[in-house]
Symmetry: C2
Subunit: 300 residues, 2 copies
């Protein structure tokens, strides 16, 4: 009496379907005695007689009839479970939760997601918009599976994996009549400017990169104001508060009346867009998505 097993159910269904132990045994390629014993085991386990063997053709009892339906359900359920596991392992079934942030991913991102959705119709895709710091936290505690984010900072860089997709060059945002409003600007020329910054909580990578660049150029920037959205920063520049440094990819969507956007001369004047994930929680679905992103040249 070691508990009911699927083998019991397989045998039981066969006996019911083929209308007898001998017939079923032939179909199953087992001996009639083995079948007989297994069914007897099952019946004693249940404490229920499943077959009426008194007549020539073995026939189900009333409880047997009901149990047959349940047994069929279980067996097909078992097949389904196996299928689920295999589909999931092959990356054709499951879920992927993606973190992104505005200003990070561009218009190509939805197109890539759409392509992934089409090639993996049985994978549920959950998109979560969150700022980079929250993305890292979400990756760490498993709330999301992959993030399109800024370069990882400690401690997250210790246990998360990341891959640079794109380098967004930084541009100086200057009033049109500004004396430095030329093609390329050397950041060292901006040492006495007044700066409108993005709040550090909103975009620490940009803020820190900016500080770093100035530091390398030998000065500490005078910050006269901060804002939380790109358009507000631009508005402040238009109003003459000061100048700003913004990543190139955000500029297209911004108003540019009265402004000039100038690339910075410094080679490292750029911030990275990376995709990051937890190496402990890799899955085939995740790898498929990564592969798609890589094949698209990382252009998200």
């Amino acid at each position: 009496m070691t508990g009911m097993e699927l083998r019991h159910l397989r045998y039981f269904v066969a006996v019911a379907d083929y209308g007898g132990f001998s017939r079923a045994a032939r179909r199953l390629y087992v001996s009639q005695s083995a079948l007989s014993e297994q069914i007897a085991d099952l019946e004693s386990e249940l404490g229920v007689q499943l077959f009426d063997r008194s007549r020539l053709r073995t026939v189900l009892t009333a409880p047997g009839e009901l149990f047959l339906k349940e047994a069929r359900k279980l067996l097909s359920g078992a097949d389904a479970a196996i299928k689920v596991a295999r589909l999931s392992a092959s990356g054709d079934l499951g879920e992927i939760r993606i973190g992104f942030f505005t200003g990070g991913v561009g218009p190509n991102f939805p197109r890539l997601i759409q392509r992934f959705r089409q090639s993996h119709p049985r994978v549920h895709i959950a998109l979560h918009e969150m700022i980079p710091a929250l993305q890292w936290k979400a990756l760490a505690d498993g709330t999301i599976d992959i993030a399109f984010t800024r370069r990882l900072e400690v401690p997250y860089s210790n246990f998360l994996t990341s891959e640079v997709l794109r380098k967004d060059p930084l541009y100086a945002v200057l009033p049109k009549n500004h004396p430095l409003a030329r093609d390329v600007v050397d950041i060292r020329a901006l040492s006495h400017e007044r700066f409108v910054m993005c709040a550090r909580e909103t975009s620490p990578s940009l803020f820190d990169k900016m500080i770093e660049l100035c530091s390398e150029a030998g000065f500490s920037p005078e910050i006269v104001n901060t804002a939380n959205v790109w358009s507000s920063i631009v508005l402040l520049v238009q109003a003459g508060e000061g100048i700003a440094i913004l990543p190139a990819n955000t500029l297209q969507e911004l108003p540019k009346t009265g402004l000039v956007f100038c690339p910075l001369k410094q080679k490292n004047a750029s911030i990275d867009l990376v995709m990051a994930w937890s190496p402990d929680r890799e899955s085939t679905v995740l790898r498929h998505l990564q592969q798609l992103i890589r094949e698209a040249g990382g252009k998200v």
Copy 2:
């Protein structure tokens, strides 16, 4: 590779729930090695890695996570299946299809059915109204499980079981001014009467019993008319077509203006109401219903 078994699922769920092979093994009272082997078997059967064992705490892979849900469903389904079989065996779950016929069962029948329904709420009761000959056929081919019917005739009496519930005495239905309209009538006094009969197809038992009684009394009845419903027969008697012989239990509901109902003197002047079933297809539910009927004194 002998196929997935419920044991594999039980072990798998335990390992997932207790977060490790060793912990699960302690809870299951099996050795860690046994558990390890079984899970390895399962994984190779599926062709899917279910756990990530690289870290201290064993953790599910993405396919493992999905498979866990399926495994839980299957295990609780297995429990449910066992429950279904046991409930059915104890007569607390299932279906019973009952055949009856008007004129056979009386006003107490619905009350008894109602009582059975209350004591067996999970048993589906299907009531089928059909004339006795059809009841027997339905019993024979398993369309119904029990019938409240007339005494079985060959060939059905050979393989169906029956039990007499009630004897309905036969009454002579006479016009009020009939010379024999007294308390008790001897059938021999009716030898020269004209008879209104129930059509044999409608009620062969009554018809045959009537013929039998007359035959025993030494005459063959003159049948002047037949009808298919009791009220029509009575109407014909009221109209002076002849006299009739009807079972007592039908008389209450019939119009009796201008008529007298007289019991017959003959001891065997009665027809039986029986319950019949197929002994090959007995079930606990069936036996419970029979028991209820018997405890009610067969008064249906």
